[in-house]
Amino acid sequence: MTLDELAIGQEATIVTVGGEKILRRRLLDMGLTPRTKVMIRKVAPLGDPIELRLRGYLLTIRKEDAKQIEVSL
């Protein structure tokens, strides 16, 4: 499944990170690397973007970008 499909509060492990070159590099640099544990903490009031918790900090990314991240429960 992909990261955007997780329910709020559900934790998963990243399998692969996809996306266009610059975006993908940014995601990797921010610590969204394979085997990292990640959780969706919140969805923005307008339904997008989402707030993630990983490596002890909070990060926000857009849903369409989260779709490119494969996770496993």
Partner: protein, 665 residues
């Protein structure tokens, strides 16, 4: 000694920079990009620190990252001071590892140690230094703790040239690939004075600027590609993921040995509690609008107005006494006019913006430094994405309704150059408050029953046209990839008083020094044109050069419904300040500003009056705003394009309105 201060965003880098340098700083600009470069002298020394932009990585994809990388490689600072947020050590060390690969003397300042201790987490600093092979100094920049230790350590690594003792974070196939490529390109790297190992790491990552810089032969490039592909096959992953993974793995090992965490940190729990309200599903947007409205009210109505009045009083008093003195002295009337109507009026108009800028940036810095601005981006992103911007651009645009000058200046904190430029181009579509007197006089004269509605219509029109141009820019001038929206939401923190004060001072200084020339020259030019005729005799305003220019360009406004030189002249004078449109029109129509609405129907019909309002809404912003735009775009050419574009848009919109209106009426 010259130090480079490098760190992530939100790690207290600016606070540390301020602690190290006090007010001994000057702001510059990196050549070719609108990225700030700040340099300061360390207190009681000759040593300087350069505050490099806040970045998360040394990838080649953003100007901020490239600037940092080039600075360290080309300018060769004596040492790097890498500041990290110790409460968020895992991600912060990712940049540290890349800096260590650069192989420059380096020290790590572990900031926010007070919060670490408060959260009952322990970091074994000595062990961390050993594991990383770089001296780590615990500090708390905001409380000014550990700064002396840091200064000593900085001095030591720089004078004794203590390089990071480790720069090999990789194992297995990555190690083999980097190792092999290092040997292959050693000569090339040394020729351009880059650490071979850093170059090799970048090549493995597929870094294009590095490939170009090294001037590799076709054959060498093939060999590199071959070994990287081999690495990818062995690891079952691609090059960029492999290296990011390798660095994070190394960090995880280091952290396992040095950091003991007992539960969530207090700062994090506090942030979650605050976010429960500030990014709440239903409250978030009303709260944001409430905050912006309060800032508006306090800036433009309370403090700003108070300070503006005080300043205006001061300027008026000085002007009056100089005026009296000049009259008593029997000064030549032209020189007299130059001093009073030219210089004093020019300086006065520059100064009149100062209180608003200072007060507004007081609030904006608090929003920024507290961590709220990142939440604004989170909450508003979906709305602004449609025009190709990200959430934070909403703040400068809203400020644009007050005054374009600070709005344009506020774009500085946007994360990418593309967003900054595009926001600057769109901000003037938000009708500034100085245009209100024009709207007010015209709506009173022509639409007395629907005054409020017409004004609201104008504001909405500005926004709609702004959105349309946003969409147009998105597919034309700013086509390229928007910066990815991957944004850290830092823990909420109390902003440091010193940082807020210094930033206010910075903005004031910035505006006065950099925008002053443009505004002053603009004001003087208009004074000159208004005072003289073409034989350089002083004349009444109806005979001046400006009036003649008004006569020349008036036919341009015929398709808009008002081919009248007095209106054209008033529009030109609006270039100095929008309020001047009304006063000039009053003078040229031989009436007063308050009685103007009775005379206006002699030269306008309701239709052409509305067309005039559309033109005023959209045409070039005042000279002060242009000064700010030039300062932020850092390009005279782009600024000129900006002014012309606004005028052309205004003209086209007003023509369309008037011509279509004529068909129906």
């Amino acid at each position: 000694m010259r130090y480079a201060l490098v760190g992530n965003q939100n790690c207290g880098k600016t606070t540390l920079f301020n602690q190290l340098t006090g007010s001994n700083q000057h702001v510059g600009n990196f050549p070719g990009v609108t990225v700030d470069s700040k340099e300061g002298t360390i207190k009681d020394t000759q040593d300087t620190v350069v505050d490099l932009p806040g970045i998360y990585s040394l990838s080649p994809y953003s100007n901020e990252e490239i600037v940092t990388r080039d600075f360290i490689i080309n300018q060769k600072p004596d040492a790097i001071v890498n500041i990290i947020d110790a409460t968020n050590i895992e991600r912060n060390l990712y940049l540290s590892l890349q800096l260590m690969e650069l192989h420059v003397p380096m020290v790590i300042a572990a900031n926010m140690m007070d919060e670490v201790i408060e959260s009952k987490t322990s970091i074994d600093i000595k062990k961390l230094s050993e594991e990383l092979g770089v001296k780590v100094i615990p500090i708390s920049a905001i409380h000014n703790e550990g700064i002396d230790d840091l200064l000593q350590a900085m001095n030591k690594v720089a004078t004794k040239k203590i390089y990071p003792s480790k720069y090999d974070f990789c194992t297995g196939p990555v190690h083999r690939a980097i190792h092999g490529i290092t040997h292959l390109i050693e000569d090339h790297a040394q020729a351009i004075d880059v650490q071979p190992r850093f170059a090799a790491t970048k090549l493995v990552e597929g870094d294009e600027p590095m490939q170009k810089a090294l001037r590799l032969t076709e054959n060498e490039l093939d060999m590199i590609e071959h070994s990287v592909v081999e690495m990818e096959e062995q690891l079952q992953t691609d090059r960029e993921a492999a290296l990011a993974d390798m660095r994070y793995n190394y960090i995880e090992q280091v952290i396992a040995k040095t950091v003991k965490k007992s539960g969530e940190s207090k700062a994090y729990l506090r942030s979650v509690a605050i976010d429960a309200i500030l990014t709440h599903k239903y409250f978030a947007i009303p709260i944001f609008l409430g905050i912006m409205l309060s800032i508006f009210y306090l800036t433009f109505n309370v403090f700003g107005a108070l300070l503006s009045d005080a300043l205006a009083y001061l300027v008026d008093t000085i002007t009056l006494s100089v005026d009296t003195a000049l009259t008593a002295f029997g000064m030549n009337p032209v020189v007299h006019s130059l001093i009073i109507d030219g210089i004093f009026a020019g300086v006065g108009s520059v100064l009149s913006f100062l209180p608003i800028i200072v007060v507004l940036f007081f609030f904006l810095t608090i929003l920024e430094d507290s961590g709220y601005m990142a939440r604004v981006a989170f909450v508003m992103d979906k709305l602004l994405r449609k025009i190709g911007l990200s959430g934070r651009s909403i703040v400068p645009m809203l400020i644009g309704f007050g005054c374009t000058v600070p709005a344009v200046m506020a774009t500085r904190t946007l994360s990418s150059e593309r967003d900054r430029k595009m926001t600057i181009f769109l901000t003037p579509f938000m009708s500034c408050s100085a245009k209100l007197p024009i709207y007010s006089v015209f709506t009173y004269a022509f639409f007395p029953k629907y005054q409020a509605w017409v004004m609201i219509l104008l504001y909405v029109l500005g926004i709609v046209i702004g959105i349309l141009f946003g969409l147009l820019f998105k597919v034309t001038a700013f086509k390229g990839q928007p910066t990815p929206f991957v944004l850290e939401l830092p823990n909420y923190r109390m902003p440091s008083v010193k940082s807020v004060m210094l930033l206010m001072w910075d903005k004031a200084k910035d505006f006065l020094t950099r925008a002053f020339t443009v505004i002053f020259i603009g004001s003087m030019l208009i004074w000159f044109l208004q005072t003289f005729d073409f034989r350089f005799n002083t004349v009444e305003s109806t005979q001046s050069m400006l009036a003649y220019i008004g006569k020349w360009i008036a036919p341009l406004f015929a398709p808009l419904g008002f081919n009248d030189w007095r209106v054209a002249t008033a529009l030109i004078s609006g270039f100095t300040a929008k309020e001047a449109v009304v006063s000039t029109l009053a003078v040229l129509l031989s009436t007063t500003s308050s009685a103007l609405s009775e005379t206006l129907p002699t030269i306008f019909t309701p239709l052409s009056a509305f067309s005039f309002l559309i033109f005023t809404l959209l045409y070039t912003p005042c000279v002060a705003a242009i000064g700010a735009v030039k300062q932020e775009l850092n390009s005279g050419f782009l600024t000129l394009c900006f002014v012309i574009l606004q005028c052309v848009i205004a003209w086209l919109c007003a023509v369309c309105f008037y011509q279509i209106g004529c068909i129906f009426l």
